[in-house]
């Protein structure tokens, strides 16, 4: 996903001078998901280490507030109990 905001002024002359390859990205697709699951299965990445906080969905405002203030890293929300 991309982020919003004001356009940024950057001198791209270096792209030419240094023959830099410039790539963008948006979202993901099946091939990337398959590879991601492979990395998880092989234990080559640690996603749980990136979870800083877990909260019930009822406390969503606290979780969004943390993200907005740049506190913690990944906040997970747990849905309301199913009856």
């Amino acid at each position: 996903m991309g982020l919003p905001g004001e356009p940024v002024a950057v001198d791209l002359t270096l792209l030419a001078w240094k023959e830099i390859w410039f790539a963008g990205t948006f979202g993901q697709k099946y091939s990337a998901w398959k590879a991601a699951i492979g990395l998880l299965e092989a234990g080559k990445v640690d996603m749980e280490a990136m979870v800083s906080d877990v909260l019930p969905l009822a406390d969503w405002e606290a979780g969004f507030g943390m993200m907005e203030r740049g506190e913690g890293l990944k906040v997970l929300l747990e849905p309301y109990p199913v009856h």
Binding site: M1, V8, L15, T25, G27, Y30, L40, W60, M67
Partner: protein
């Protein structure tokens, strides 16, 4: 079921609301959400800053759970399957991009938590093709981060041809930056992670995860570090995972001739660095 609904454009307009539990149609499944991650995109939608979302919508597109109901005609999926779920609920299947497997570029794509109801609730209805069964060793909490991990795999490996032995500079140690660092390390790259003083704990985490070097740009000389580590040549790949002009300049200067510069679709974010 209760979910976190964005009810109108603009800042705020968020509320927990009750809706009827949905049922899967033909070719669809119902996933019972276990955990769902808050992404920067969710925060930007909440603040009314994001440029693309539909209303009303339950937010949340990073999630894992269990298959709970199966629609007509779905094969290869069982109730109780543990799954990570792509946010893509459907794509047109007819355009140039869909034809090439690049449905992330499809103009008609339905995206959970952006175009239609997402995962900050109990159940999500989606196409069976968007499910990825989880190995037993992978927890639901870890699996809830498969989406940002896949985003980074797509960016680094598919868009930017990450290679074993690359020296990769990651600027911005948030979730995406640290996922990129982990993907790069998993592929045998040497990774430098750069951040600011407010990123101290994330830089420490990057070290624990195996980063070759971390640099606080407010205290250390990143240019010198890059030069020393690459014999003055520059890094093979610079990954910019933070908004603002300064990180773009840092990346363009750090990358070697013929190197790769990879950037998210960000302009200026609240993680401003000047």
């Amino acid at each position: 079921m209760k979910g976190l609904l964005k009810t109108a454009k603009g800042p705020g307009n968020m509320a927990i609301q009750d809706v009827d539990e949905p049922s899967p149609g033909p070719g669809q499944v119902r996933v019972r959400v276990k955990w769902a991650g808050i992404c920067g995109t969710d925060v930007h939608i909440a603040l009314g800053e994001y440029f693309y979302y539909f209303l009303p919508v339950f937010l949340g597109h990073e999630f894992a759970g269990e298959v709970d109901e199966i629609g007509e005609g779905v094969e290869g999926v069982s109730v109780g399957d543990r799954v990570a779920v792509e946010p893509t609920k459907s794509a047109c299947g007819k355009c140039l991009h869909c034809g090439q497997g690049n449905y992330n570029r499809c103009e008609e794509r339905d995206i959970a938590g952006v175009v239609s109801h997402g995962a900050f609730t109990n159940y999500v209805i989606t196409r069976s093709a968007s499910l990825h069964k989880l190995p037993d060793s992978v927890s639901f909490k870890a699996a809830a981060l498969t989406e940002p991990l896949a985003v980074c795999v797509h960016g680094l490996c598919e868009q930017c041809r990450l290679s074993e032995g690359d020296t990769v500079l990651v600027v911005g140690p948030g979730t995406i930056g640290l996922c990129c660092a982990q993907v790069a390390m998993a592929h045998g790259a040497r990774v430098i992670v750069a951040g600011t003083s407010r990123d101290r704990s994330q830089l420490a985490l990057a070290e624990r995860l195996g980063a070759f070097q971390t640099v606080n740009v407010e205290e250390d000389d990143l240019e010198k570090s890059v030069s020393e580590l690459t014999s003055g040549v520059g890094v093979d790949m610079a990954v910019e995972a933070v908004g603002g002009a300064a990180p773009s300049r840092v990346c363009l200067e750090a990358v070697r001739k013929g190197g790769r510069y990879f950037r998210w679709g960000s302009r200026v974010s609240r993680w401003r660095w000047t």
